[in-house]
């Protein structure tokens, strides 16, 4: 592509046509891979080449414009390069405008952060295009803040939109932000509400980060919005988008403002430190003691008994109960809370006498003084009580789950305690290897068991050992003693009461309505309980009830709940023996299979699709196993 500048009036519309046709045919990569770098070089300093490039693109027919513009946007090495290549194309050409401002940002979400940076930086660089930038920001915020979008669009798209919003914010100057301050704040408030409502922690975090960033740009004085969340790679990446590094070339960029602000903040901090140091008292530590040290005459006594004063912990469970319910003495209360779990475990008989009372006290126990790890201490004590006396305590706890006037946190605590206790009961106490060590809390995502491969090896070894005659007994291995599975007798008590009342709303607790977070946790809990009930007698009945439960809820709008339902199916398929599945639940499972296939294709949430696929695989494996057994 070589032109002779110098007075010749060339028409390059032919070239535009060729370019467009090639791009739309799918050869975007090849041709633009050569054209774009070449043009970037040529347009770096030469204005004529810039104008040629602009003309080139303007002449591309509308029906091919999208492919060409998209290709350029993806391949341009930077926002300024894109600006040189495209010029004010977005302002002049309606199709280009649509592609850049709507399609790439709102309708697609597969592009990288770099592409977003280039695109939005391009919009920010020229005053003619900045109006578009503002409009883009408003539309992005609308999309971010709409509650249906938050509920139904995939998390990846929401992340993409959040990134775009943050980059826009980083490019806007103060007066521009002030002019649309009100709209920014309104959309932010609505958006934050929808995001915080979601059950997925990732969505909540996205909402929090974006809201914080908006608030920090809009309200430069006054208290800033600050959420509490754990920083991870994603949030750090998002926050880094707010600060633009100035580009390498000479083009003055509006991002310098942001850089200056960051620099200005740094000198303030060391000053603050110095002030506080000056206020601290002057240490006269170089005072030389010229006097004779007559202190040496005074011989110290033995002070090894001088230790910290500790309140004695109560030694009896009934003492603990008394202290926890009545006592005003905070030291004693702390000592009782710390000692309770070990006391319960060491005195099972005494615990059984007062188990329900203890469970009640622990459920309502609130933090009286600041102890480290109070929540964990309380939970461990509750688990200890539940495992020592499972049946009455589980009856109490499951009834309280559906009772009035408990906080959501307390109801979820009940579920956590039930799961931890079930885990403990179902693991024979003397086993070294803990198969469920990964599953500390719900949700439990189970892969089709690879446990079976370890099992057969063990069985073969044992068979060999039993068949060989030993003449001399060498060092005998102490066989690890195994205990009975204590969960089997109580599994039903844990499971059925939880599943019975889920569709009856109370005034303060509506599982099927607002409290879908608790519903999600309940579903995950049921999945874990199902999994832990493997090899128990009641597993078939549990399986049937669970399948019915899942069936009624399968179209729930909350993706956390749907993930839980799919885990329930997995647990079901893993725990109930295959023959019983076939005998009792064959029809329902076939229906479930078609539902699962539907989920794999159409569900917006990636995790749901993955779980559904796993379930289908499990079903396939079962079918094969059943066919392989000679009948």
């Amino acid at each position: 592509v070589c032109f002779i500048p110098g007075g010749l009036d060339c028409s390059i519309s032919f070239v535009s046509h060729v370019l467009g046709k090639v791009c739309i045919r799918g050869r975007q990569k090849e041709i633009l891979g050569i054209v774009v770098p070449r043009l970037t070089e040529l347009t770096r300093s030469d204005c004529i080449w810039q104008r040629i490039c602009w003309r080139l693109l303007e002449c591309v027919p509308d029906r091919w414009m999208e492919a060409v513009v998209l290709g350029f946007v993806q391949r341009a090495p930077g926002a300024d390069a894109l600006s040189r290549l495209l010029g004010n194309l977005v302002v002049k050409n309606k199709k280009a405008q649509f592609v850049v401002t709507q399609k790439v940002l709102l309708l697609q979400y597969g592009h990288t952060t770099e592409v977003l940076q280039n695109l939005l930086g391009y919009l920010a660089l020229d005053s003619a295009r900045r109006a578009l930038l503002l409009r883009v920001l408003q539309e992005l915020l609308e999309a971010w803040g709409s509650s249906s979008a938050v509920k139904h669009s995939p998390p990846e798209q929401q992340l993409y939109i959040s990134k775009a919003i943050l980059i826009c914010l980083s490019h806007l100057k103060e007066p521009e932000i002030q002019s649309c301050r009100q709209e920014l704040l309104t959309s932010m408030m609505e958006g934050v509400k929808c995001h915080l409502d979601s059950s997925l922690p990732q969505i909540r975090r996205l909402g929090m980060v974006v809201a914080e960033s908006i608030s920090s740009r809009v309200n430069t004085e006054g208290p800033l919005l600050k959420f509490e969340y754990e920083d991870d790679d994603e949030t750090r990446e998002l926050k880094s988008l707010l600060v633009q590094t100035p580009p390498l070339c000479v083009v003055p960029s509006p991002t310098d403002d942001k850089g200056d602000k960051a620099d200005a903040a740094l000198p303030l901090v060391p000053e603050g430190n110095q002030n506080s140091q000056a206020a601290a008292p002057v240490m006269a530590d170089e005072e030389s003691d010229a006097e004779l040290d007559s202190d040496d005459d005074l011989v110290p006594y033995d002070m090894s008994e001088d230790k910290e004063l500790k309140t004695k912990a109560p030694v009896y469970i009934r003492d603990c109960i008394e202290v926890l319910t009545g006592s005003e003495d905070v030291d004693k209360w702390e000592a009782a809370v710390k000692a309770l779990e070990s006391l319960v475990r060491r005195n099972p008989a005494a615990t059984r006498e007062v188990s329900v009372e203890l469970a009640k006290i622990l459920l309502h126990l609130e933090e009286k003084s600041c102890i480290e790890g109070f929540v964990e201490l309380r939970q461990r004590a509750q688990v200890a009580v539940l495992t020592t006396d499972p049946i009455p305590v589980s009856k109490y706890l499951t009834s309280q789950f559906y009772a009035l006037n408990y906080s959501l946190r307390q109801r979820m605590d009940i579920l956590d305690v039930l799961v931890l206790a079930a885990q403990e009961l179902s693991c024979p106490k003397f086993h070294g290897k803990n198969k469920h060590s990964g599953a500390q809390k719900p949700p439990v995502h189970l892969l089709p068991g690879s446990d079976s491969s370890k099992d057969w090896r063990r069985i073969v070894d044992e068979r060999i050992k039993s068949k060989t005659r030993r003449f001399a007994v060498g060092q005998c291995h102490v066989e690890k003693a195994s205990g009975p599975n204590e969960f089997s007798s109580v599994a039903g008590h844990f499971f059925f009461p939880l599943i019975q009342q889920f569709d009856r709303p109370l005034t303060t607790f509506d599982l099927l309505g607002e409290d879908h977070l608790v519903l999600g946790r309940l579903v995950h809990t049921l999945a874990v309980l199902m999994y832990l009930a493997v090899n128990t007698v009641v597993v078939t009945a549990m399986g049937k009830a669970l399948l019915e439960f899942v069936w009624t809820l399968r179209f729930h709008t909350d993706s956390y709940v749907r993930q839980g339902l799919l885990s329930c199916i997995s647990s079901l398929l893993l725990s109930v023996p295959a023959e019983l599945l076939l005998a009792d639940m064959a029809e329902e499972l076939l229906e479930a299979q078609s539902w699962l296939a539907d989920v794999v294709e159409k569900d917006p949430d990636g995790d749901c699709r993955r779980l559904a696929l796993q379930n289908l695989l499990l079903m396939e494996n079962l079918k094969k196993k059943l066919e392989a057994v000679p009948s």
Binding site: A284, D289, L298, Y301, E305
Partner: protein, 328 residues
């Protein structure tokens, strides 16, 4: 090999209430009986005979309200007591009398012990917390005229004064007052001029007690936190922190330096009395006898250093008397 801590020489029982304050009066020549005055929570001042270890007299002058300060005014015949009935009473105990000769109504509802300083024969200065929240009033005794009222200026929120100490750098010069406040600071006041010379933040919690060694211009303060703070006074009358010492358990109720300036004793909320060397604050002993918070410690004023005693009063109604480090 360090010796195990000593046991008390003897223990005085019989107060039947928590002991809040102690004062020895043992300086008189023979055949004067050395006595120990103790003030208790039930409002009774017991005069203990240190030879028989029994109560000689019991003085009841504060309407059963707790006594938190007793001071002798030149010998054991004249006593000052301060109680929670907002009064300071002056007793005449000579020749077996037990009468209140005078009293001052302080209108102070806190626990700040007053401080006495003898300026001339028969004339005393007394610093006490007064009616206003942050005020300290200095009275001249026996006329009970107010010398000055010391109020922190500006908006300095120091809180209530917690402990006071009047002293004179050398005889005849202007008296100075050290006051420890609720916010953890110690202020040096010039009494004659009525203004503050220096202020130092020693603690994060209220200063519970302080004592000062005027010879070395060094003082020590104890608080409700785990730290003892030692500060010094330089030539420009400025207070500076000299050292801090971290304790094993929180809370000090009382701190006092022995008259020979060799050792000091602290009474702790952890029921223990600790002895330190004054020069470098070297820990010397931990006396563990009481079973409840120790409220007060006091050294005796025996003329012979070999007889010096240390008394500690506690919430467990007992007064333990110890003889430690009496050989010099």
């Amino acid at each position: 090999m360090a010796l195990p801590p000593p046991d008390p020489q003897f223990v005085l029982r019989g107060t039947s209430a928590a002991v809040h304050t102690l004062r020895f009066s043992c300086g008189g020549p023979e055949p004067d009986i050395p006595v120990l005055f103790s003030g208790s929570e039930n409002g009774i001042i017991h005069v203990w005979n240190l030879k028989t270890h029994r109560v000689g007299t019991a003085l009841d002058g504060h309407g059963r309200k707790s006594i938190y300060c007793v001071e002798t005014m030149g010998g054991k015949d004249r006593l000052l007591s301060q109680g929670r009935d907002q009064r300071i009473c002056f007793w005449d105990l000579a020749e077996g009398r037990t009468s209140v000769t005078d009293s001052v109504f302080t209108e102070h509802v806190g626990f700040c012990r007053c401080s006495l300083l003898k300026v001339a024969q028969g004339r005393w200065l007394m610093a006490m917390a007064a009616r206003g929240l942050e005020e300290v009033q200095v009275l001249e005794l026996p006329s009970k005229t107010s010398v000055c009222t010391l109020k922190p200026e500006g908006g300095a929120k120091l809180g209530m004064p917690m402990c006071l100490k009047l002293w004179q750098p050398s005889s005849g010069s202007q008296p100075l007052l050290l006051a420890g406040y609720e916010d953890g600071s110690v202020v040096l006041w010039n009494v004659t001029m009525g203004k503050a010379l220096s202020q130092l933040v020693c603690h994060q919690e209220p200063v519970m007690s302080l004592d000062f060694d005027s010879e070395k211009a060094k003082g020590i303060s104890g608080s409700s936190e785990k730290v003892l703070s030692i500060w010094s006074l330089n030539e420009q009358q400025n207070l500076q922190v000299y050292k801090t010492h971290k304790l094993v358990n929180t809370g000090i109720s009382d701190v006092t330096i022995r008259p020979d300036k060799k050792i000091l004793a602290t009474a702790g909320w952890d029921h223990r009395i600790r002895i330190f060397g004054w020069k470098k604050l070297k820990p010397l002993a931990v006396l563990d006898y009481h079973t409840a918070t120790a409220h007060c410690v006091s050294f005796s004023d025996h003329s012979s250093p070999r007889d010096t005693l240390l008394a500690a009063g506690s919430k467990d109604h007992r007064i333990s008397v110890w003889s430690v480090y009496t050989q010099t």
